[in-house]
């Protein structure tokens, strides 16, 4: 038996084969090849595989997401066999006598450049389609599995750590749990695992060895323990936990359809945090009453270029429509800090957490902001959309955001495009500055939502990415809880609602404190909705106290 000890960052137990995440290598070197005919055969095989994948994707899209997406995949399929594109590949092969990978990459760059050079914004954006198709053919040439997981059965996914863009592309139906060498409780892998409601263990360091690939791992996201080839006693203990987990799940199912109300009648809005439209299924499965935080970054992280208004609109509309009149709070892009996107060409910063990020990028680049706001307002015609601005520190920033919104509304009016004029506007409370001026900010907006991860980081001067701050990074610190109280008092004085969309919202040990403070909404991972509901329904708001704010 092999035992590994890491940090449990998402609860639950799971067992299955350990699989190491395949990171597609983007480095393609030009190597000389003698047998050009063999390279041509490889390309033909890769093309055929790409076509089959795209046709399957088109069929799936037609059933699940609709005609628009299906046509996109069909266009991609036609690109794969486009005669000029294929001819360019063959010409490079014949003239340069090089490997297939290099020839495909060259053709991809050539045609992406052709689209990029057109004088039409729509056609310029098609460069991303060419790149996407090229990437697909290259992956098939190099035997890299799409979604990073080339396995027929679900696996325990092992990796050094996963970047946000990588977690987005994972085939989530194939993941039982995560084990990573790096990362922390706040890393994107941990957040994803909690959204999915599956166990995750991080910080394993070099104890996580490649040689464990393919062996059965038994992981416990609560204790952070992984056993491989467990002995009988360990296995029995694991099975007991597994059984308990199944029973608990069943118990929680009885919470579905129940109201989020305390024994003495205080209502709480229990919403969900999501990172992409596909997470809506988890929200519905767990009976979330709305979406308190829809991170729009996925659109930017998954793309090679600025996502178009249309692409964004489709994504927001899908979620707004699927939630069927329930509130959907969409946060404008929160790029920067730990979420880097190449095409934004952000300057390297010594301290990116305090640099040009989130709303600061939007206010510096009105065009990027405008595109997103237009997409958001257009989506507001299809559901109860609310727009939320991150990283606010000053009243003038909010005023400028509102001016940008007004401008976009005027544009849509002029173009006769429908939208909801009364779309709620809110801000994230995640900087100490926003807490100090919360009274003034509250007069400008319709709601507050506290991002406790960043608020803790900035209030305690503790880097949330750092692994070794341990006891110093204390989200229960009275300073953080007092900040929550100050923001809540300011919100209520102005007659607006306040929620928490950080990880702290799901911390059941703080529920009584939140009730005492007067928090109106808690937005948590979909898998945390039912446990939270069960706890709320056992609470008595009147008897809750503010003791935790004292020490």
């Amino acid at each position: 038996m092999i035992l590994l000890q890491g940090k449990g960052v998402s609860k639950g137990v799971a067992s299955g084969p350990i699989y190491f995440f395949q990171r597609p290598s983007t480095d393609i070197t030009k190597t000389a090849v003698a047998d050009i005919a063999a390279e041509k055969e490889r390309i033909a095989a890769a093309q055929e595989k790409s076509m089959a994948q795209l046709e399957a994707l088109a069929d799936k899209a037609r059933e699940e997401t609709g005609e628009e997406t299906a046509v996109l995949f069909e266009t991609h399929a036609m690109f794969v066999e486009d005669e000029d594109y294929v001819e360019a590949i063959m010409t490079t092969l014949d003239e340069e006598r090089c490997c297939a990978e290099y020839a495909v990459q060259q053709a991809g760059e050539q045609f992406a450049a052709m689209f990029a050079a057109t004088d039409d914004a729509y056609m310029q954006a098609r460069a991303a389609d060419v790149k996407d198709v090229t990437r697909r053919i290259l992956n098939n040439l190099m035997g890299i599995a799409e979604g990073g997981i080339d396995s027929d059965v679900p696996v325990i996914l092992a990796a050094d750590d996963l970047a946000p863009s990588e977690t987005l592309q994972l085939d989530k139906s194939k993941i039982l749990g995560f084990i990573t060498a790096g990362g922390s409780g706040n890393s994107h892998t941990a957040i994803l695992a909690r959204t999915m409601g599956i166990p995750a263990i991080c910080g394993l360091g070099d104890t996580l060895k490649q040689e464990y690939a393919g062996r059965d791992g038994y992981i416990d996201g609560e204790t952070g323990q992984i056993s491989i080839d467990p002995d009988e006693i360990t296995l029995a203990a694991f099975r007991t936990k597994e059984k308990k987990q199944a029973e608990m799940k069943e118990l929680l199912q009885s919470m579905k359809g129940q109201k989020d109300v305390t024994l003495d009648g205080r209502e709480m809005m229990v919403y969900c945090n999501i990172g992409s439209p596909e997470d809506v299924a988890a929200v519905q499965a767990n009976d979330g009453q709305g979406i308190g935080l829809f991170r729009s970054e996925f659109l930017y992280l998954a793309a090679n270029d600025y996502p178009s208004e249309e692409d964004q609109f489709q994504a927001y509309k899908t979620v707004a429509a699927a939630m069927n009149g329930k509130r959907v709070v969409i946060r404008t892009l929160d790029i920067g800090a730990d979420k880097q996107v190449e095409y934004f060409h952000l300057q390297k910063e010594e301290n990116p957490a305090m640099g040009v990020r989130a709303i600061r990028i939007c206010l510096n680049r009105p065009e990027v902001f405008r595109t997103q706001l237009r997409a958001l307002y257009r989506a507001s015609a299809y559901g109860k959309v609310a727009i939320m601005f991150p990283m606010i520190t000053s009243v003038w920033e909010v005023k400028e955001c509102k001016r940008a919104c007004k401008k976009v509304m005027a544009e849509l009016d002029a173009e006769g495009i429908p939208y909801n004029k009364d779309t709620e506007l809110g801000i994230m409370i995640e900087t100490p500055a926003s807490v100090f001026v919360a009274d003034a900010l509250a007069k400008e907006v319709d709601f507050f939502s506290v991002g406790t991860n960043d608020l803790t980081q900035y209030t305690l001067a503790c880097d949330r990415q750092a692994n070794d701050l341990g006891k110093f990074f204390d989200p229960h610190h009275p300073a953080v809880l007092r900040a929550l109280k100050m923001a809540t008092d300011a919100a209520h004085a102005a007659g607006i609602w306040i929620g928490i969309c950080g990880e702290l919202g799901a911390d059941l040990t703080l529920l009584e404190t939140f009730l005492a403070i007067g928090i109106d909404e808690l937005s948590v991972s979909p898998s945390s909705v039912l446990p939270l509901r069960a706890e709320i329904r056992k609470s008595i708001a009147k008897t809750c106290n503010l003791d935790m704010l004292k020490s």
């Binding site: 046509v71 266009t75 036609m78 000029d84 594109y85 052709m114 689209f115 057109t118 039409d120 098609r126």
Partner: protein, 86 residues
Amino acid sequence: MKQFTYTITDPLGIHARPAGLLAKAAKAYADTTVTVTKDGNTVKATQLMKLMGLTVKQGNVVTVAADGPQEDAAIAAMEKFFKENL
């Protein structure tokens, strides 16, 4: 050779969707060459990427030509396609 000129009325012009459909329609006439010309630049209708690269927008005038054994049928199909889709 048969040809016609057409002024694009679709607000989006020859964007990805109609371009794909057009390329597909032209492929049905394997032995006949169907071309689209805008501002002196000519591409075959089956050359999807280059066809999109022409950036044909609303109000642009294009010349569509068919040359080959099936040119009568091809040009009739093209005229119908442009009228219905573009």
